[in-house]
């Protein structure tokens, strides 16, 4: 049994541009993907959650193209978005943008090329390539949100920490893709890459190498829909607006 009825939203709901086009044409103002809530009048009737309608596996022909930023193993969420910025509330568009401007600011000084240039609020790297256990540590959802707000379309890591993976899918902010093998040592920050989502392939144009990725699988349709709420609505699990 579930209760899911709506009252007046306290947040501004902004439509999100779900374009998978090249990062170069990303719209400047982005709002959180997961912000879409029912606006039907409040009603206390209980509504049961139904099993989702059967759905064909998503075969997305989406592709991402842009510069990549390479990090190592065990990049924890404190490095992705330090705790002092967590008072920013992503449901407010200006704070969402601000959050994005701090993405990966916690990386140590050994990362000489910073993820976001000084004075900028967005990154020029739309794809992050990482080693093992990306997103470990604290459960802060601000981590994938900050990356998404900064302009990242996808992360390609050797493996993920589970809460970060879940948060990426639930918010639909970034695609958490897994590589079949370790590629963070073969790619360099600034390489031009393309990810063919449907084929689970990453092409590094700068080195000329191609890499197989693990299919995004069940998480794909959720991210494509715009996160867990949008997905649940789309599949009939919860009532549509």
């Amino acid at each position: 049994m579930a209760l899911f009825s709506a009252a007046t939203s306290t947040a501004t709901v902004l439509p999100r541009n779900l374009a998978f086009a090249s990062s170069l044409s990303r719209s400047l103002l982005r709002s959180p993907r997961f912000l879409s809530f029912p606006t039907a009048p409040r009603n206390r009737a209980s509504v049961s959650i139904q099993a989702p309608r059967a759905q064909a596996a998503a075969s997305s022909s989406a592709s991402f193209h842009g510069l990549c930023y390479v990090v190592g193993d065990n990049i924890d969420t404190d490095q992705i978005i330090p705790a002092e910025y967590l008072t920013l509330v992503p449901s407010k568009p200006d704070e969402y943008e601000k959050l994005g401007s701090y993405a990966l600011i916690g990386l140590p000084a050994s990362y000489a090329t910073r993820f976001i240039d000084a004075g900028e609020t967005k990154t020029k790297y739309s794809i992050v390539i990482a080693g093992d256990n990306f997103g470990c540590g604290s459960s802060r959802e601000h981590a994938p949100v900050a990356l998404g707000a900064a302009g990242v379309s996808a992360v390609v890591a050797e493996s993920y920490a589970r809460i970060f993976f879940r948060n990426s899918v639930a918010t639909g902010e970034v695609y958490p893709l897994e590589s079949e093998r370790r590629i963070c040592e073969e790619c360099h920050t600034g390489d031009v890459v393309t990810i063919e989502l449907g084929e689970s392939r990453l092409i590094n144009h700068t080195t000329g190498k191609e890499y197989q990725l693990k299919p995004i699988g069940d998480a794909g349709p959720v991210i494509e829909a715009g996160g867990i709420f949008a997905y649940a609505r789309k599949t009939g699990m919860i009532p549509s607006r």
Binding site: L3, F4, G137, R140, S159, N167
Partner: protein, 434 residues
């Protein structure tokens, strides 16, 4: 990220496997075994979820009626004692939400100048949950904080989720979940797996010690940790909850078939360890780090700021009989812990309380209970590393910048080791004094 949302569900879970992995979890009477290739596992709770909100994010966009006003607990604990306006705002948002939704359990704080003036305020969520009787064997708990795993000490399934997942639970009372199997360890070795702690030593541990174990499971990447409920659990719960519960246990079949790995530890061979900067698994023997000069000691957090943690530190100070060589910050996890420091007698001290012993050792007086500097926080947070100093801390993470300064060096340690280190001014094996 000021407070936490916890969701608690009782057993009798009916669910399907998410993705293509086969998952089997045995419950007392219900045993659902499915190997679905399609999506969606929906866990239907009989009981409550408790949100411990890292998430005014959750609440600002939540425009619905919560699924069950009694199965949600909202606990402000991060970024409380600070002048940061946005931090205050987050608690305000929580309050508005709790009032609107008539949430039964909201441990509010309004007067920050004196934590004791706030009758409802508790402090660190994971410790408060236990102390307020919200953790019960056989139940399922979700919280918007990774250390929600601490509650596994009560023989329940307890794990962390992000804000959006939490909002989903708030509205529907359900969550999509990939069921896990008992597994092995290392910093990412337990990823997606459950760690069950068993054995004679575990049975001899107090509830707080079990909570510390389960708390750190997430640092191994684990989904959750679990200690089967026993007499110790039931005794602890006697004066804390009257809600009926039904413990669940992994049975012998599960042990033989489903455990991915079994680790046996001979505790008699264990020695005090520290985790050196900058990772919780960068372990070293405390005695081998005794040339590391330190600048300060921090004792606090859900991991190392419970009553027994302070008792441990007090025992070392008592045995050492000296004063600390470095600033020593003490942050009790909750109001109850704070009270205990000023009222409970430390065994073997001739009637002294922890607070007296700490005072005589020259520690800073116990601070207002909260998460404080465990995760840095706004610059004016008590105990925050605002300079690149070396700190021995009883907290749970030491990634770069975790406690504030990006070049701060954090050595994670037990309260015993932390106290011993405070006495010498170097990382010190507590057996030097005990």
């Amino acid at each position: 990220m000021i407070f936490f949302l916890f969701f608690l569900f009782q057993k009798d879970l009916g669910f399907f496997a998410f993705s293509s992995s086969t998952s089997i979890i045995r419950q007392e009477q219900k045993c659902k075994k499915t190997s679905s290739k399609k999506i969606v596992s929906v866990v239907s709770p009989q009981k409550k979820p408790r949100p411990s909100a890292t998430g005014s994010v959750v609440l600002t966009f939540f425009s619905s009626i919560v699924w069950d006003r009694e199965k949600i607990v909202v606990i402000p604990d991060h970024y409380i004692f600070t002048n940061d306006e946005r931090a205050h705002r987050n608690v305000d948002i929580a309050r508005e939400f709790c009032v609107e939704q008539d949430i039964k359990y909201f441990y509010d704080i309004q007067d920050r100048s004196n934590f004791r003036a706030n009758p409802d305020y508790k402090g660190v969520c994971h410790v408060a949950l236990a102390q307020e009787g919200h953790c019960r064997p056989g139940e399922v708990l979700f919280g918007t904080d990774s250390h929600t795993t601490s509650a596994g000490a009560f023989g329940q399934f307890a794990t962390g989720v992000g804000n959006t997942d939490a909002a989903f639970i708030l509205g529907t009372g359900k969550i999509l979940l990939k069921a896990s199997i008992i597994g092995e360890i290392s910093m990412s070795g337990a990823t997606y797996k459950t760690m069950e702690f068993a054995g004679t030593t575990i049975e001899s541990l107090s509830m707080e010690e079990r909570m510390t174990l389960c708390n750190m499971v997430v640092e191994a990447g684990g989904k959750n940790g679990i200690v089967a409920a026993d007499k110790t659990t039931y005794k602890y719960l006697e004066d804390k909850t009257s809600v009926p519960y039904e413990p669940v246990f992994s049975d012998d079949n599960a042990r033989q078939v489903l455990f991915l790995a079994k680790y046996r530890f001979d505790v008699s061979k264990m020695e005090p360890l520290v985790a050196k900067p900058h990772s919780p698994d960068n372990r070293a023997l405390a005695r081998e780090c005794n040339n590391v000069k330190i600048d300060r000691v921090y004792i606090g957090s859900c991991t190392g700021g419970k009553t027994e943690d302070f008792m441990a530190a007090a025992k070392v100070f008592l045995a050492g009989g000296k004063t600390v060589k470095v600033p020593t910050f003490l942050v009790p996890a909750t109001q109850k812990v704070w009270m205990d420091l000023y009222t409970l007698e430390v065994p073997g001290s001739g009637g002294k309380t922890c607070s007296k012993i700490f005072e005589e050792a020259g520690c800073d007086p116990p601070a207002s209970p909260s998460c404080a500097a465990c995760m840095g926080g706004p610059r004016d947070t008590y105990g925050r590393l605002n300079e690149p100093q070396v700190c021995v801390s009883t907290t749970n993470r030491n990634f770069p910048g975790r406690m504030g300064h990006l070049e701060g060096q954090i050595y994670l340690a037990s309260p015993y080791t932390a106290a011993a280190s405070a006495l010498t001014g170097f990382v010190t094996d507590p057996r030097k004094f005990l």
